[in-house]
C-alpha cells in the first residue's frame, strides 16, 4: 500500500513536467499540443546521444536534451504553428498530430526501433520501513521538484513569467503593453521544449528509450493536464500526481490490464461535475 503510494507519486512526478508543458502551450496558444509525446521521445534520444555517443554524464546530457527539444519546438512553431495560429484550436491540434508523426519518425530514422538505455549503472533499492525506494526515484523526484519550483518562480516572479501570464490572460492588452505574443509564444515553446527534454531523459531513465515511448505517455499527460484544468500550471502538477496515484493504486482493486482505463474514468467523472477541470477558468462554449 505504502509502496504503491510511493510508486504513484513517482509516476505522477514523471507526468508533471510534460503535463506542465502541455498546459503552458495551451494557456498561451489555446490549443492542445498533440506533439508533446513525440517531443518527449525526441528529448530521450537527444539525451541518449549525449550520454552514450558523446559519453557525457547524465546531468549534462539532460541539459543537452532540454536545449535540443527547445530548439525543435521553436522550429516547429516557426514552420507550422505560427502559420496556422488564426485557424482555430482543432486545426492546430491536427497539425500537431502531423508534427508528432514527423518528430517520432526522425527518431526512428536515426535510431531504429530497438529499445535503448542510458549508460548509467542501476542500483538496488534503499529499504525504509518496508518501503523500497530506488535511486532513480530519488533523482526523478528531486529533478522534477526542482524543475517545478524553478518554473513556478519563473512564472510568478520573473518578468518573463509575468509576460507569459499576461499573454495567456489577454493577448491584445499584452501587445499594447509592449509584450509581443509571438515572442512570448516562442519563449513558451522553448520553455516547454526544455521541460519535455528533461522529462524525456527522466522517462528514459525510468523505462527504455524507444520511438513509441512518448506516445505511451501521451494519454496520461493529457489526462493530467485536463484534470488540472487546461491552462493552469498548478493544476497540471496536481493533476499529474492524481493520475499517477490513481493508475498505480488502482492495481489494488482492478486487474492491471485495466489500469490505463483509470485515468479516463477519472477525467470523465470529473468533467461531469466540473466542465473545466480542477483549476480551470470558466470557458463558455459559444
Amino acid at each position: 500500500m505504502a509502496q504503491l503510494f510511493l510508486n504513484g507519486l513517482v509516476t505522477g512526478l514523471l507526468l508533471a513536467l510534460p503535463a506542465l508543458a502541455l498546459t503552458l502551450v495551451f494557456g498561451i496558444l489555446k490549443f492542445a499540443n498533440f506533439a508533446v509525446g513525440a517531443l518527449l521521445t525526441f528529448g530521450a534520444y537527444a539525451g541518449f546521444v549525449a550520454n552514450v555517443q558523446f559519453g557525457w554524464p547524465l546531468p549534462l546530457a539532460a541539459a543537452f536534451a532540454a536545449l535540443c527539444v527547445a530548439l525543435a519546438s521553436i522550429i516547429a512553431d516557426a514552420l507550422v504553428f505560427e502559420r496556422l495560429r488564426e485557424r482555430g484550436s482543432i486545426t492546430l491540434l491536427v497539425a500537431s498530430m502531423g508534427v508528432s508523426l514527423v518528430v517520432e519518425n526522425i527518431c526512428r530514422f536515426f535510431f531504429g526501433n530497438a529499445a535503448r538505455s542510458f549508460d548509467v549503472t542501476l542500483a538496488r533499492p534503499i529499504r525504509w520501513q518496508g518501503v523500497r525506494i530506488n535511486h532513480e526515484q530519488i533523482v526523478t523526484a528531486s529533478v522534477v521538484i526542482v524543475a517545478l519550483i524553478l518554473v513556478h518562480l519563473l512564472l510568478t516572479a520573473s518578468p518573463l513569467g509575468r509576460a507569459m501570464r499576461a499573454v495567456a490572460d489577454n493577448p491584445s492588452l499584452a501587445a499594447v503593453r509592449g509584450v509581443e505574443r509571438r515572442t512570448v509564444a516562442r519563449i513558451a515553446w522553448a520553455l516547454t521544449g526544455a521541460l519535455l527534454g528533461i522529462a524525456g531523459v527522466l522517462a528514459g531513465l525510468d523505462r527504455a528509450i524507444d520511438p513509441l515511448m512518448g506516445w505511451n505517455y501521451q494519454i496520461p499527460i493529457f489526462a493530467a493536464a485536463i484534470l488540472g484544468g487546461l491552462g493552469s500550471p498548478l493544476g497540471a502538477v496536481a493533476g499529474a500526481l492524481m493520475i499517477g496515484l490513481a493508475e498505480e493504486m488502482s492495481a489494488l482493486i482492478l486487474p492491471t490490464n485495466y489500469r490505463q482505463v483509470v485515468s479516463f474514468c477519472v477525467i470523465l467523472l470529473l468533467l461531469l461535475f466540473r466542465t473545466n477541470g480542477l483549476f480551470g477558468a470558466k470557458a463558455v462554449r459559444k
Binding site: 495551451f26 492542445a32 491536427v94 498530430m97 530514422f109 490505463q260 479516463f264 466542465t275
Partner: protein, 306 residues
Amino acid sequence: MSAYLVTLVILVSVAALVGLALNLQWGLAGLVNFGVSGFVALGAYGVAITAPHIGWLPAMIFSALLCAAISMALALLSIRLEENYLAIVTIGFGEIVRILLLNEGWLTGGALGIADIPRPFAAITPPGGGDGVILAFAIALVALVFVLLELLVRSPFGRVLRAVRDDATVASALGKPVLALRVRAFAVGGAVMGLAGALHAFYLTYIDPSQFTPIITAYAFMAVIAGGRGSNLGLLLGAGSIMALLEATRFLKDLVPSIDGAQLSALRLGMIGIGIVLLLILRPQGLVAEPRRRATEFFPNAKGEG
C-alpha cells in the same frame, strides 16, 4: 495489379465511410470526435460477433444501431463540454474500447481477434471471385451512405446543423433544439462509423484490436480537412487522396533502394506527417466548398431582381 487496386478501393471505401461520418459530426455539426477508431472497432466487432449467428445484413444493422446508441450516450454525456475537452473525452472513449476489446477475450477473442468472419453474399460468391463481390458491396455501401448523407446535408436538417455549428445561441434563439440536433448528428455519424467498421471486418474476414489504433482517427481528420469541411463530395476526394498518399509512399522504396527497412518506414510515416501539415497550410478551404441553397432554385427567373 487489378486486385491490388480492388484492395485500395475497398480501403478507400472504409476510409470514405469513416470520413463521411466525421464530416457530418465535425464538418457539419461542429462536434469534434477523436474516438473515431473506437466506433469503427465497435462496428467491426459487432458484425464479427453477430454475423455468424444472425446473418450479415442483420449484423450490420445491429452494429450501426449499437454505434448510434453509444454515440448518443457519449454525446449526451459530453456535448456541453468545450471543444478541447470533448476531444479528450472522445480520445478516452476510443482507448477504452480498444482496451476492452483486447482484454474481454470471452467475447472478442482478445488479442487473438476473430477470424473467419462471413462475407456478405458468401453463398452466391463464385469461388475465387470474392473480391469482385466485396468490391461491388463496398462501392454500393459508400454510394448508399453518400446519397443518404448528401440528402441530409442538402436538406433543412443539414442547414440547421450548419447554423448550430456557426452559432448555437442564435440557433436556439430561432427555436432550434440545439442539444437534440447535436445528439442526432453524433448518432448518425456513429452509425456510419459502425458501418465502416463492418465493411472493414467483412473485407479482411479477420479482426483484432491492433487494427483499430488512433491512426484511423488521424486519417479521418486528414480526409475531412483535405476535402473541405462540410462537403461530402470533397470528402470522397480527400479520403481518396489520403489513401493515395499512404500507399504511394509504399513505392518509395522501389525508388530509394539503399536505406534499411526501419528507416524507410520512418521516412514513409514522416512524409505522411509532412503531408498533413502541408495540407493544413496550403489548403485551408479544402478541395470542395459546402453546398448552398440558392434562391434561384425556387425562382429561376427572378435572378437579379428586387
